[in-house]
Every structure is written in structure tokens, then in C-alpha cells.
Amino acid sequence: MIKHRFLLTLMLIFSFPFFLEAEDYRAILEKADALASYLDSDFSAEYTIVHEKSGSGRETTVSAVFRRDSDYKYTIIVAEPSINRGQGYLKLKDTLWFYDPESRRFNFTSSKERFQNSNARNSDFTRSTLAQDYDVLSASRTTLGTFNCWLLDLEANNDEVTYPKMKIWVSDDYLVRKTEDYSLSGQLLRTTAIPSYQVLEGRFIPRAVYFFEALVDEKTVISIAKPSFRAIPDTVFTKTFLEKSGQ
């Protein structure tokens, strides 16, 4: 009898993913989105971006990031290195501007482009919309280090996303721990790892995000410091703010 119960338990554990429907997987993504987005308040922090390229050494960029996820807005001001000081990004819904204080001009840029030539993309700084942008093709249970995770295979349902295919590891606390980004044909392009989160006012913020390019010997680490959920003035999300910051 005990033996049968044991077998039944094992079967339940291993067949667990098959009991979940696509809608349940979407719920996992929605919960992961909710934890990675800050919809009920503004968010600001200092991002230190260290980019290492084989043969070219290490480049460090320090930026102030201001997010208003509820309005799909962000402003990023580059503080270091001195040669790029004053450069800035302003995202207002679907439009992303890049400001160069040298030319004092704003240029359109894309969320899919690299941020300051690092392995982070401009889309990595905005709110998470995985559930909205991707369909879950398959799911399985797995372990990632010490974390028990859902491993979800995702495929984009629109052309606006940076990567058309993804694999995503979501731990049982619905925090994204790792992603793999793929091309349309299934070539691995980038691996992202978020091993630990800091908690502030009950919300989760990554301590560091690691990006590893698959096709070139490059990696980037973004360390997030001085996080804050205090309200940010509306003027921060304007072109005038970028111009003033660039002076």
C-alpha cells in the first residue's frame, strides 16, 4: 500500500506540468511580470554597467535610471564615462529617443538596440511584458542551482520584441532567474542570469543582471544600487530634462 502511494506521489510530481494549461503558464508569466515591474510607484536607481569584450578590456558605464512603468516611460542619464556624460535616453510609450549633448540633438532609436554598446538592450530597462508579448509553447519543471523552477519555452506573438524566441527560468517565488534569447531559427544569442534580488518596501529588485552573448566573447554585468520607489517629478520624463542634464 505504502509502495503504491509512493508511486502515485511520484507520478503526480512528474506529471504536474501536464495538469497545467496554457492559461496557467501565462499566469506564471504574469506573476513574473508583476514582480519585475513597478506599476504602483515610480522607480529610480543607479545602474553600473560593466561590459567586457575579449581583447578590448573592460568598459564601465554608470547611469541614473528613472522608471514610470505604469506609463511605459523611462529616462536614463549617463554619468560615466566622462566622454559619454550627459547622454540620455527617453522612452515615452513606443518612442525611444537618444540625446547626445555633443550635437545637442535627439535621435530616434530602437528598444532592440544595444545600450551604450553593452550586451544589454534598451528594452532591458523597461517594465516586463512577457505575458503580453510571448506565447508559451511548452513548459517543464527543472532545477537551476538551488532554485526549483518552471522552464518555459516562449515564442513572440508580435514583431516589436527584441528576441523572437526565449527560454525562461522562473523560480517558485515567480522571480525570473535566467533567460535564454534565441533567433527566429533557434540560434542561441544571449543568456541572462539574475541570481539574486534585493528587497525594498516588499518589492524585488535584481542585485545584478549578467548578460552573456553567445556568438561573441562578450559579457555585461549590470549592478543596481541606491534603489528608490519615491515619486519622480513629471519633468524628469521630458526632453528638457535630458537637455539640462547634458549641460
Binding site: D159, E160, L184, S185, Q187, L189, L215
Partner: protein, 423 residues
């Protein structure tokens, strides 16, 4: 006196006074050699750029299809309509090539290295076998041909597997695995970061229909035909497709491209328009050459005039004797002009030899390391191109300088009296 006797007499006098004419011949030869070298090199440079451009763009006259919503990606909307327009041309093209193109948005990766490509071409390798020495077969759909610069940056060699990353027509990242079948050396302006893959493979990666193409390039046997056919092709296409007005220059073309349209808009483009900036540069070089030539010519003209006056002065007793023997003024001028003609012919010959020697000497050196000049070179070397119209123009200029410079002293000499014998 009959003219052949004047010519014979002129030749005898020329031979007799050859030492006196040496400086004159040297000055004229140098001037002629200088302009011949400059114009032939200028033509050679333009020829190199044109040839490289013809290979790079794959034609001399083009039909291009731009889809505004797909950014720089393009496709011709109706192959049948384009074929009808081409068939209706009064001069049939000797050859045509269809190509797809991804502009500035392709990357090739190998062994942890990446290389951004200015041009990723989708070509039909069997049709372009003459452009690619080791052209892959029709069944070799995974073949890629890299420029030497790209291969060097990647550290890739023939036989290596590389990944080509592109953006589809809707902006998604797509990749394909290819095998390097050849690495092409191209020192031209177009030779830097580019690669060639099978057109259908590239179309699949870009999300385009398998047989679609961005450009139809037409080749003609006779030079200049492409420019003559462009307006005819444009008019014929206009009847069936959305076609931009024929651009007069690159600014016109850029303006047409900046206009708003939906779907595909076609452009008829000539190779000369593609390389118009290089053509302008070389035309400026030609102007500088001719300015220098005119400067040299003026110096030569003054030298000829002075030298000839001196020669005539030294020969005044001889000319006086001729007058005393009954030579008329016109006959004296004719004999002196015959002498000048021999000076001209010898100068032409020695000037041509000198120019060939200079060009040969220049061809021994590689100029590929000089920044900016490599686009005009053929494998790092200056290659001259002799055009009949240039040579005729240079000869005419030489005649134009030489004979007016001689006429004055010859006329004065003809007015010498027999009394000059005693001077």
C-alpha cells in the same frame, strides 16, 4: 616648288639642325608625356572604380524595388512587368543578374568574433560564376563568400562554419549557418565589409518570398548603352508599376527615396549615378590635370617661341641664301612649318615613349597603403587606360600650342632679305 619637295627640304633642314631642336623636342615631349600620364591614369582610375562598381552592384542599369515599410529592405513587386519592360528595350542587354540585398544590418560570427556587414548580397552563384572564382554549385545553398576584410576580422578560413545574423523584413532577429566557400580580395571602395550568400537562402532569412529580388542589374555590350536605355526603361515600367522619376543625380535619388509611399516603389538607376561622386572627383582631377597641362603648355609655348626665334636668328644667313636663290616667302614659311611638323612628330613619339616609361615605373610600385587612394587602384597599383578621344585631344592641344608659337618666328624669317647673307 611642289609640296613633297618642301617636305623633303624641311626634313633635311630638320635633320641638319637636330641639335638645335633638341631642347625644344625635350620640352614638348615632357609636356605631352605629363598630360598623357595624367589623363590615362585618371581614365584608368575611373575604369577601376566602374569595374569594381559593376561587379559590386551587379549591373550597369538597374531596376530597384524599395519597400518603405521594410526599411532598407527591398523587393521588385512584379518580375513579369519588369521582364516585359526589359524585353521592350531597343538594345537588348547581354546579361542580367537578380540580387537581394541587406544593407548595414547583417552580422557574421565565427569563433567568438563578429563582423558587421555593410552589404549582405543574395546572389545566384551559377549566374555569377565569372565574378566568383570559386563559385559554389547550385545545390550548395549553405555557401557564403566573405570579403578578405571580413574574413580577417573573424579569423575565418575557407571551410569554416559561420553564423549570419540578419533582421527580417519585420525587424526580428534571424540567423543561418553557412560554410565559407571562398574569400575574395577586393581593394576597391566597395570591397570592405560584405558577403555573398544564395539569394533564396537570404530571402528565407529575411522573411521574403523565395524568388524575390531587390535589384535587376542589366549589362550591355556597348559602353554608354545603359545611360541611353535608362529613360526608355523608366517609361516602360511606369505603365505597369509605381516608379520614381529618373534621377539626374544622387541628390535627386535621395530625395525620391525620402518621399512617402506605401508598398513597393521602383527606381531605375544607372551605374554612373551610383558612382557619380567618384566620377565628379575624377573629373575634378582631370580639370586639375588640364590646368597643369595648360600651365606647362604656356611655359613650353614661350620656350618654343624664344627657342625658335633663336634658331631662326642663328639660321638667318641660311634663310637669306634661300631667299637669294629665289625662294618665295610662302615657300620659306612652308619649309619652316615642315621642320616644325617633324619636331612635332618626334616630340609626339618621344613624349609617348616617355609617358609609357613613367607609367611602367609607376606600375612597379604599390600605392595601396596610401589612405584614400586604394579605391582607384587595381590590386594596389595604378593602371592606365588609353582612350582614343583623350589621346586625340592631347595631340590637338599640342598642335594648338606648337604651331602658333612657330608661326610668328617663321613669318619673320620669311621677311628676311638676301642682304641677311652678310649678317
Amino acid at each position: 616648288m611642289k609640296s613633297h619637295k618642301r617636305a623633303f627640304l624641311g626634313f633635311r633642314y630638320f635633320r641638319g639642325h637636330l641639335r638645335r631642336f633638341l631642347f625644344l623636342i625635350l620640352a614638348i615631349s615632357f609636356g605631352f608625356a605629363l598630360i598623357t600620364v595624367m589623363t590615362s591614369l585618371s581614365r584608368g582610375m575611373y575604369g577601376n572604380v566602374s569595374r569594381a562598381a559593376r561587379n559590386h552592384y551587379g549591373g550597369e542599369l538597374f531596376v530597384l524595388g524599395y519597400h518603405k515599410q521594410y526599411g532598407m529592405l527591398g523587393m521588385v513587386e512584379s518580375d513579369a512587368a519588369v521582364q516585359r519592360a526589359v524585353d521592350a528595350l531597343p538594345q537588348a542587354p547581354s546579361r542580367w543578374l537578380k540580387r537581394s540585398l541587406l544593407f548595414s544590418d547583417g552580422f557574421v560570427y565565427f569563433a567568438g568574433n563578429g563582423s558587421r556587414q555593410k552589404y549582405v548580397y543574395g546572389v545566384d552563384f551559377p549566374r555569377e560564376a565569372d565574378l566568383f572564382p570559386r563559385s559554389p554549385g547550385p545545390e550548395d545553398s549553405r555557401a557564403i563568400i566573405l570579403s578578405a576584410v571580413t574574413a580577417g576580422q573573424l579569423g575565418a578560413r575557407i571551410g569554416d562554419d559561420v553564423v549570419l545574423k540578419v533582421r527580417t523584413k519585420t525587424g526580428q532577429i534571424n540567423t543561418g549557418n553557412f560554410i565559407v566557400r571562398d574569400i575574395i580580395e577586393d581593394d576597391s571602395i566597395f570591397g570592405s565589409y560584405k558577403c555573398f550568400v544564395d539569394r533564396r537562402e537570404l530571402n528565407a532569412l529575411l522573411g521574403l518570398e523565395s524568388d524575390s529580388y531587390f535589384s535587376l542589374g542589366l549589362f550591355f555590350d556597348k559602353a554608354g548603352t545603359a545611360n541611353a536605355m535608362a529613360p526608355i526603361l523608366q517609361k516602360a515600367l511606369e505603365k505597369e508599376l509605381a516608379v520614381a522619376p529618373l534621377a539626374a543625380d544622387k541628390d535627386d535619388f535621395a530625395y525620391s527615396q525620402s518621399e512617402h509611399w506605401t508598398g513597393v516603389r521602383h527606381f531605375v538607376m544607372t551605374l554612373d549615378l551610383y558612382v557619380s561622386q567618384v566620377g565628379d572627383l575624377l573629373r575634378a582631377m582631370d580639370l586639375v590635370s588640364y590646368f597643369l597641362y595648360i600651365m606647362v603648355s604656356l611655359i613650353v609655348l614661350v620656350s618654343i617661341s624664344v627657342t625658335y626665334r633663336l634658331i631662326i636668328h642663328e639660321r638667318s644667313s641660311e634663310i637669306g641664301t634661300m631667299r637669294a636663290m629665289g625662294f618665295q616667302r610662302g615657300e620659306i614659311i612652308a619649309v619652316l612649318l615642315w621642320e616644325a611638323l617633324f619636331v612635332f612628330l618626334i616630340s609626339l613619339f618621344t613624349g609617348s615613349l616617355l609617358s609609357l616609361l613613367i607609367l611602367k615605373a609607376l606600375s612597379l610600385f604599390s600605392f595601396g597603403n596610401i589612405p584614400g587612394i586604394e579605391i582607384f587602384l587595381d590590386k594596389g597599383r595604378l593602371v592606365p587606360l588609353f582612350k582614343a578621344e583623350d589621346i586625340l585631344l592631347n595631340i590637338f592641344l599640342l598642335l594648338f600650342i606648337l604651331f602658333p608659337a612657330l608661326l610668328g618666328p617663321a613669318y619673320k624669317a620669311s621677311r628676311l632679305r638676301a642682304a641677311a647673307i652678310n649678317q
